[in-house]
Symmetry: C2
Subunit: 224 residues, 2 copies
DNA sequence: GGCCTAGATTGATCCGAGTCAAATCGCGCG
DNA sequence: CGCGCGATTTGACTCGGATCAATCTAGGCC
């Protein structure tokens, strides 16, 4: 899940499942907390998330961490760079995954349609990451948090009675490391949004967006 | 040019020219300041930079700007997302470019080797952008500037008498927008590096790195 | 040469987010 | 049920980098 600027939602939803009529390999499962791969591992498979949420992280030598992305259903993770994984990847909640052979992306042998789909996914990822640059480089804490919630609402929000409910399987620290903030700042910002009645915090891992338009405005930098 | 963490230079240099024995299309030239494409344009060509430096930028609605990347010789620019360019691109200095048809990347017809090379370039770009995430999200001003100079030194530095000289065709504002800083902070940080005799500022667009090891240390977050 | 101007530098001040610390919450477990 | 511990929230304070403003510099041009 790459946080994109809400105003420019990609026209063709990345949640469309890749055609799996030719899938040679069965889905696999990954338990909560289990690792799918580590940075430096040789890439043998790419994975499309079918259910659950993955976390992709990188560590800086001095212990600082960056959450590169959250992998939500529809997303494809594990693109190789020089044949190797360049992030760690583990499951925030039990996940079902559809593996695709690395050769399908790189050689295209076997299934041209699948090759094509994987290639397009890689190209979309480049674009999504560029959106994330704006986020990390140029947005304030409240804009970052508001953007994050808006994207999640768009991707996995459950609408009911004019409100949108979203589950946050990740910790505050994960959100902080994704947005380039500290846990304290994430927590304070959520409190601030709650106090201005834009969101409700149902429980730590469930947020209800009450005033979507206001949140969207904040994510774009409108003064409160 | 994507700023990567100096300690993990990609083993196969991205400056290796893609085989152009089968290049159907001649090189094209781009004058300083001229635009190669704009955000939203349909992608017809990808371009490999042969000489000169390109600048890829995105604008946020409220005027804030992010420099996504600088395109140095060997880099490939113009990867499509849903068939469209997702950045503006202009030349910081007169550039020679080798165009490749978009179909060569996406369909692979004609030249499988070229298709393969473009695909690998796209995958390397994903990895390079993840490095940049660490930069934008987790590094201080001095670490950012030091990292930037180290990468440029590695990519295009001219070694002489134990010193490395680098040309900066971009303005301080470009560097700032690339690193997620302000021009003032970039300027102050360069002054600070100059005063601690780690670099010399020959003229505004030429920097000499005197103490490469110290600069590398700063880029990794060692306390000065 | 001398002016003009955009870009760069430097200075003073402010503020947002980080840091450090303490209190609180929530859940698993004996 | 009460305990213990990690995650979260809240508070007080600090500081790095932004902001606002004032030079300074170097080309470009007459």
């Amino acid at each position: 899940m790459y946080v994109t600027i809400p105003s420019e939602v990609t026209p063709q939803k990345s949640t469309n499942p890749i055609t799996d009529k030719t899938a040679q390999v069965c889905e696999t499962n990954l338990k909560t907390g289990a690792y799918l791969f580590y940075e430096g591992d040789p890439v043998e498979w790419l994975y499309q998330v079918k259910s659950g949420v993955l976390r992709l992280t990188r560590l800086l030598e001095n212990g600082r961490r960056q959450v590169i992305a959250f992998g939500y259903p529809g997303d494809i993770v594990g693109f190789p760079a020089n044949g190797l994984h360049h992030t760690d990847c583990d499951a925030l909640s039990g996940a079902r995954l559809q593996p695709y052979r690395r050769a399908t992306l790189e050689k295209g042998d076997g299934d041209p349609a699948l090759h094509q789909a994987l290639l397009q996914a890689a190209l979309r990822e480049i674009s999504a990451m560029q959106d994330h640059f704006m986020m990390l480089g140029r947005k304030s804490a409240i804009e970052k948090v508001a953007s994050f919630l808006c994207v999640l609402a768009e991707r996995v929000g459950q609408n009911a009675a004019g409100e949108t409910r979203i589950e946050l399987p990740m910790s505050r620290a994960d959100i902080a490391d994704f947005l380039g903030l500290t846990t304290e700042t994430v927590s304070r910002t959520l409190t601030q949004l709650r106090k201005s009645r834009i969101i409700e915090i149902d429980n730590i891992h469930t947020i209800v967006i009450c005033r979507q338009t206001a949140l969207l405005g904040l994510s774009l930098g409108d003064r409160d």
